[in-house]
């Protein structure tokens, strides 16, 4: 199991508490984007295409912490843009750790080694670097549209591990990947020593430069079946076994768009991390003012039909784990046997 016991306990008690209070909708991971600029322009990313004055903006730490406190989720993920370009990243992470939030800094790791050497971060069980790695050297550099990034990122990962930090990887797959190469990549990440891996199909961002390689649902199940069907025992994933089963077609899950709400420079994004249907001024306005029935696979919304991304389905998998005997049994069996 890749998630430490203390974190698993925090999540489990949080989810059970929500169920006890009969809360139908609650956040699990706050996605906090304190900036939108990045030092890469990846082919499958639709997050950074904005005018210069928007890309130059930084959220204040006070504003970010107010969002964290209002949301109340036990985990905070900091993507962007590239969070290591955020000038207040050290202060923000320190404050989140003080609040005992489990923090994932979602970085491309190009600057990770440099920032670690500068002493910006202190190892903590609450802090993980979630490094964007889309495959082995050739595939990753192709995915991020720049040669040399794989080497820089793996240097950063090794430095972080050497200094005692928690490191996970975050991999987005498109329909041009070779399953065997992905399996080799998983071996490589395990050899390097990361704590666990996260994997997800890419979302069909309307604004992404490469519109030709997004996966449909059937293709996703087929691809992940080939990658995870004969899962090696030493592979550790930093995500729910039920979500992995969903990717290979062994679980039917519905999207939980409110599970990973996004607070960004424009406010609380409606309805989810991936779709932009507008912004709410407060978390409660997001939760109360969004027509949730209009989203998710079952809604028939065309924008949701091919989506199987972890930001929408991982919260569902976690809720299912603690919400049904079957979910709990499937999770335990998968964890004990190591099979998806």
């Amino acid at each position: 199991m890749a998630v430490p016991a203390s974190q698993a306990w925090t999540v489990a008690t949080y989810v059970l508490k929500q169920r006890l209070f009969r809360r139908k909708r609650y956040p699990l991971v706050l996605m906090l984007e304190p900036l939108l600029r990045c030092n890469l322009a990846c082919a499958g990313c639709g997050k950074i295409q904005y005018p210069v004055q928007v890309l130059r903006k930084n959220m204040s730490v006070a504003q970010a912490l107010a969002a964290v406190d209002e949301c109340g989720a036990p985990m905070v993920s900091i993507p962007g843009g590239e969070p290591l370009l955020y000038p207040h990243i050290s202060e923000l992470v320190d404050e989140l750790v003080k609040r005992k939030k489990y923090v994932y800094v979602c970085t491309n790791a190009v600057l990770l080694k440099q920032k670690l050497e500068a002493g910006l971060f202190t190892p903590s069980k609450y802090l993980s670097f979630s490094v964007h790695m889309d495959g082995l050297r050739e595939e990753h550099d192709e995915s991020v549209c720049r040669d040399g990034v794989y080497d820089a990122a793996t240097d950063g990962i090794r430095e972080a591990l050497r200094r005692g930090f928690r490191v996970t990887t975050n991999t987005t797959l498109f329909d041009n990947v070779e399953p065997l190469r992905v399996r080799e990549f998983f071996d490589e990440m395990m050899d390097i020593g990361v704590e666990g891996m996260m994997v997800s199909p890419g979302y069909s961002y309307e604004k992404a430069p490469d519109q030709t390689h997004f996966l449909g649902r059937e293709k996703t199940r087929e691809l992940f079946g080939k990658i995870l069907g004969n899962k090696k025992k030493h592979w550790r994933f930093n995500q729910s076994p039920l979500f992995l089963q969903f990717l290979v077609g062994k679980q039917e899950l519905e999207c939980t768009p409110w599970g990973n709400p996004l607070y960004t420079l424009f406010g609380w994004q409606k309805p989810c991390y991936l779709l932009q249907d507008g912004y709410a001024a407060s978390f409660s306005e997001l939760m109360m003012g969004t027509d949730w029935d209009a989203y998710g696979h079952a809604s028939g919304n065309p924008a949701c039909q091919d989506c199987m991304v972890h930001s929408g389905y991982e919260p569902t998998a976690v809720a299912e784990t603690f919400g049904s005997w079957r979910g709990l049994k499937d999770t335990v069996v998968s964890t004990v046997t190591g099979k998806v």
């Binding site: 904005y50 005018p51 004055q53 928007v54 430069p209 490469d210 519109q211 406010g267 507008g278 912004y279």
Partner: protein
């Protein structure tokens, strides 16, 4: 009517960059607001009072009698709120950063680099 998609085969997404809806006749404000909301570049909002507000329109609420847009100005200040009723036109005056050619450029550069590497190798076999 919005412009036709660009003819470049490498860029499948049409861009509204440079479009002035007033050129196509009377402006349908709610429709133009939706297009501006989806646009990732700066726009110029012509108000009914005769002002031109330049910035990035990041939000709109079209429901109810108090429909409004929100934008950051071209310095990044804001957000500023403007009711639909005050909008006469929205022109797509800023560059469209989502035109979608970075992947194409990368592939082109990579192909050029490979060609450059191949050239001396071929020469050495002669």
């Amino acid at each position: 009517m919005s412009p036709e998609p660009e003819s470049q085969s490498e860029d499948p997404s049409p861009s509204l960059e440079g479009w002035d809806p007033a050129d196509d006749g009377p402006v349908d404000v709610p429709d133009v607001v939706e297009k501006a909301f989806a646009y990732r570049g700066n726009v110029s909002i012509d108000t009914t009072g005769g002002r031109a507000l330049v910035g990035y329109l990041f939000n709109r609420n079209a429901s109810g009698s108090r429909a409004f847009v929100q934008y950051l100005d071209d310095k990044g200040d804001g957000p500023f709120t403007l009711p639909y009723a005050s909008i006469a036109n929205i022109r797509f005056t800023g560059n469209d950063p989502a035109k979608g050619n970075s992947y194409v450029d990368y592939q082109r550069r990579k192909a050029q680099n490979l060609s450059a590497l191949d050239a001396p190798a071929e020469a050495s076999h002669e």
